[in-house]
């Protein structure tokens, strides 16, 4: 069954890619660690991982929209809107339990996501246009709800601070949340009908219709999930950085997209894995952290981020071309007499 082994090479490639990212992480760690030993300190890792945790689960939401062939540009604004709203509620009603605040933020996010989903699903407006518009609208609402008064360090209650600082089962809450969400997302995407339908829909919309998959519902679902995760992330974000401003998480959507692309999510839809995105976020987190530690100016920071994304895409293209060529050469062909 030489043939069959050959065909599973494509699957292998995906696995190899995840392995590749892992190697990159190791190499980066070693290089940066030698340049600046601070990198290896426990505090630095915790800092980096706390940052990466929020990025991780919001990127998972982003991934789900990208898998359907869409995109969610509004996540950064939803983070800010949810964070600002919850911050203000906390300031006005310090007695509210942090869990209630988390819940509220998540619901705000869910609402924002649902609006995206309805516009895209029912309204049949292109996801790029829809979320580009809502990105601005939600960002504008941040200013509106805050009445231009930011949430500042002094407003943060101790209970609220502990959302990001506290631990569950000995693991920092942020990392714990990311872990749980990753596990749930993995299960949902790989082991439930709906999850597989999302992949099928992103792969071939017409064929999905042929097997009775309701594209409208899929769209509503994925953007709602993405919004919900961004809303949840917004609360954790404010708890982590102790402020909520109009420019909180500005440009954050690009980071989530980058994490997806580095993690092997196809921008054309149909392909992506939770593990890939987790590794992608980790790469991204380490890069940001490393740039900080090495003391690189902001301009270069953005450029380096861009280079990494480009590298990931080129890496992908080269690898898939190579696999295809190998498959061709292994094919059985006879000699002419």
């Amino acid at each position: 069954m030489n043939d069959i082994r050959l065909k599973s090479r494509l699957k292998e490639m995906v696995r190899r890619r995840e392995f590749g990212i892992f190697i990159i992480i190791v190499v980066m760690t070693v290089v940066v660690g030698f340049r600046n030993p601070t990198f290896f300190t426990k505090d630095n890792w915790k800092d980096m991982l706390m940052y990466a945790s929020i990025l991780a689960f919001i990127s998972i939401g982003q991934m789900i929209t990208i898998v359907t062939g869409g995109i969610d540009l509004s996540v950064g604004s939803v983070v800010a809107l949810s964070g600002m709203s919850v911050g203000i509620i906390m300031r006005e009603y310090p007695v509210f339990h942090p869990v209630l605040l988390i819940l509220l933020g998540t619901i705000f996010g869910l609402g924002c996501g649902l609006v995206n989903g309805l516009l895209i699903g029912k309204g049949k407006i292109h996801p790029l246009i829809t979320t580009l518009a809502t990105m601005s609208i939600y960002r504008g609402l941040v200013v509106v709800v805050s009445r231009s008064r930011w949430v500042v360090y002094g407003d943060i209650t101790d209970g609220f601070r502990m959302i990001a600082r506290g631990n569950t089962l000995g693991i920092n809450n942020l990392m714990f949340s990311a872990l749980i969400i990753a596990i749930v997302a993995y299960y949902f995407l790989n082991h439930t009908r709906k999850g597989r339908e999302i992949f099928a829909f992103g792969d071939h919309k017409e064929a999905a219709q042929f097997v009775g998959i309701n594209g409208v519902n899929i769209n509503i679902l994925v953007y709602t999930i993405s919004g919900l995760l961004a809303g949840f992330g917004g609360v954790l974000w404010v708890s982590r950085v102790h402020t909520a401003q109009a420019n909180t998480a500005l440009g954050y959507e690009m980071q989530t997209i980058a994490a997806c692309v580095i993690g092997g999510v196809s921008i054309f839809g149909g392909v992506g894995s939770v593990i890939g995105v987790l590794l992608g976020t980790l790469v991204f987190g380490i890069i940001l952290n490393a740039l900080e530690l090495i003391g690189i100016v902001d301009f270069w920071k953005l450029s380096v981020q861009g280079f990494v994304i480009l590298l990931a895409v080129i890496f992908d293209a080269v690898l898939s071309h190579r696999v295809m060529e190998q498959m061709r050469k292994r094919r059985r062909i006879f000699d002419a007499e």
Partner: protein
């Protein structure tokens, strides 16, 4: 009449799409244990009818009855749940998912509480199903790693996975070669014997005779009539389809065959073809036949410079040339019309004029400005010459029928003054009338001194149109047959023959 209850009956079905009436008061019935062919020209409304039966479109008026009971389907799954499965004309597979997932998408077995998919049993059932059909496929393999023929097999397996009582095959044979068609027909006959009903859509009339119990003809969204199997007659069928008599499908004229214009020696590319040598003469139509995957298209693409040759030489009018890019091939007067017209060749979003004049824009361009008037004149010349059916030169190519798209791509190359035309499945998926027109065009071009290399899976077309026939089998040229001695049997033996290494 009502001896047997029909399993499916459509009554007075009408459907409108933004102004155009796709179906008008169509009746159709289907009985258990029959294979009912549905034929008609492209755009006649066959696919719309099918999509109404499978619940993808809702009829504007009319009734669908299943075993005498009126039903209405909200979506494809509702129809599926009523025992209707379909093999669609266009590839409807998920390329990045495994074979097993493709088979069971939308109706995976799940555990009651956790709602998770039973992956283990899915793979097991898929591999049993595949084995029961005598196919060798790994259910875990991704669909994108399969050949075209294998994908078709997956489509068939997928449709059969459901134990459907009504199976719809929308041009399932378009991409299949003889062997696979026989295989498919055997499955169809077996299903018929088991009391299932099959709706079979095809462009190949010989298939209708081979397998159908009844034929329903649709023209311009209306039902023309239904004929019982024993009364089916080609001329009658063609007349019903096109509404007029058709003299012949293969109007091959006598031409003077001149000196060789293209000669290739020992062309090779690992995994695709090996040591292929032949020559093509002025005024000649050289047919190239073989199973899908035999390397025909690959040879053509390599000559045209799309893929790199790994060995061999190409001579044009006796002079050796090196072709590393399609642009070089074009400059040398070689044209290649690919099997899928959208892939390259046509810019679907552009109108007819723009498509025809792409390769010769320089001739109407002065100081970087295009002279639209001259461009239009030139395009009009070919528009008339090839009898392209469109509302005008401004119509977007995207909205043309397959046959007319094909004509536009031929027009483009004629405008570019190509001497050698490589036509890859020139009439695939094209209705009978346009097919005849494309054949006529080929014949005319040959008599004007063009050299044509025609790749086709349709043996009647190959026999009908070729001066000489090359047969490929597993990457190797196995046989060369002259027009005089060409027979279906001879070609099939060579194309299907077991090769030993």
């Amino acid at each position: 009449m009502d001896k047997v209850q029909s399993i499916l009956a459509l009554e007075n079905i009408s459907k409108k799409f933004t102004g155009t009436l796709a179906l008008s008061e169509v009746d159709f019935d289907l009985y258990p244990g029959e294979i009912h062919a549905l034929v008609g020209e492209n755009g006649a409304g066959k696919s719309t009818l099918i999509k109404i039966i499978t619940g993808i479109h809702k009829p504007d008026s009319g009734m669908i009855k299943l075993s005498g009971e009126a039903v209405s389907f909200s979506d494809a799954r509702a129809s599926y749940d009523h025992g209707i499965a379909a093999i669609y004309q266009e590839a409807s597979l998920f390329e990045d998912l495994s074979i097993a997932e493709n088979i069971y998408m939308g109706h995976q077995e799940i555990r009651p509480f956790t709602k998770n998919i039973k992956w283990g049993s899915m793979y097991k059932k898929a591999s049993e199903l595949i084995r029961s059909l005598d196919v060798k496929l790994d259910p875990r393999a991704l669909v994108k790693s399969l050949s075209i023929a294998e994908k078709q097999l997956v489509e068939i397996v997928k449709a059969l996975s459901s134990d459907a009582r009504i199976l719809i095959m929308d041009e399932p044979t378009a991409a299949l070669t003889k062997e696979e068609i026989d295989y498919l027909f055997n499955i169809a006959r077996r299903l018929r014997k088991e009391g299932n009903a099959i709706i079979f859509i095809t462009h190949r009339l010989e298939e209708v005779f081979e397998i159908a119990d009844r034929v329903t003809v649709i023209r311009d969204g209306k039902k023309v009539g239904t004929i019982e199997g024993e009364h089916i007659d080609v001329d009658e069928l063609v007349r019903m389809m096109v509404g007029r008599n058709l003299k012949t499908l293969y109007p091959k004229g006598e031409t003077e065959i001149g000196e060789p214009v293209l000669r290739v020696e020992g062309l090779s590319r690992a995994g695709e073809f090996n040591n292929v040598s032949f020559e093509l003469r002025r005024g000649e139509i050289l047919g190239m036949v073989g199973l899908i995957g035999a390397g025909r298209t690959e040879v053509a693409r390599a000559i045209f410079g799309v893929e790199k040759l790994e060995g061999g030489k190409i001579f044009l009018e006796g002079r050796q040339v090196k072709i590393e890019h399609p642009r070089q091939a074009m400059e040398l007067g070689i044209a290649y019309l690919s099997e899928s017209r959208g892939e390259f060749g046509l810019v679907l979003q552009m109108d007819i004029t723009q498509n025809i004049t792409i390769p010769i824009l320089n001739t109407f361009t002065r100081f970087g400005w295009i002279n639209r008037e001259n461009e239009r004149k030139e395009a009009m010349k070919y528009f008339r010459l090839l009898d392209i059916r469109a509302s005008g030169l401004e119509q977007k190519v995207e909205s043309l029928s397959g046959g007319n798209q094909q004509k536009v791509s031929i027009a483009k190359w004629l405008a570019a003054n190509a001497k050698i035309l490589i036509l890859d499945e020139p009439t695939k998926g094209i209705d009978v009338a346009t097919k005849a027109a494309v054949h006529k065009l080929m014949s005319d071009l040959a008599s004007e001194g063009k050299a044509i290399l025609m790749i086709s899976s349709e043996i009647p077309e190959i026999i009908g149109m070729s001066d000489r026939i090359l047969v490929m089998n597993e990457g190797v040229l196995v046989s060369e047959i002259t027009r005089a001695e060409a027979t279906q049997g001879k070609i099939l033996t060579a194309a299907l023959g077991e090769k030993t290494s």
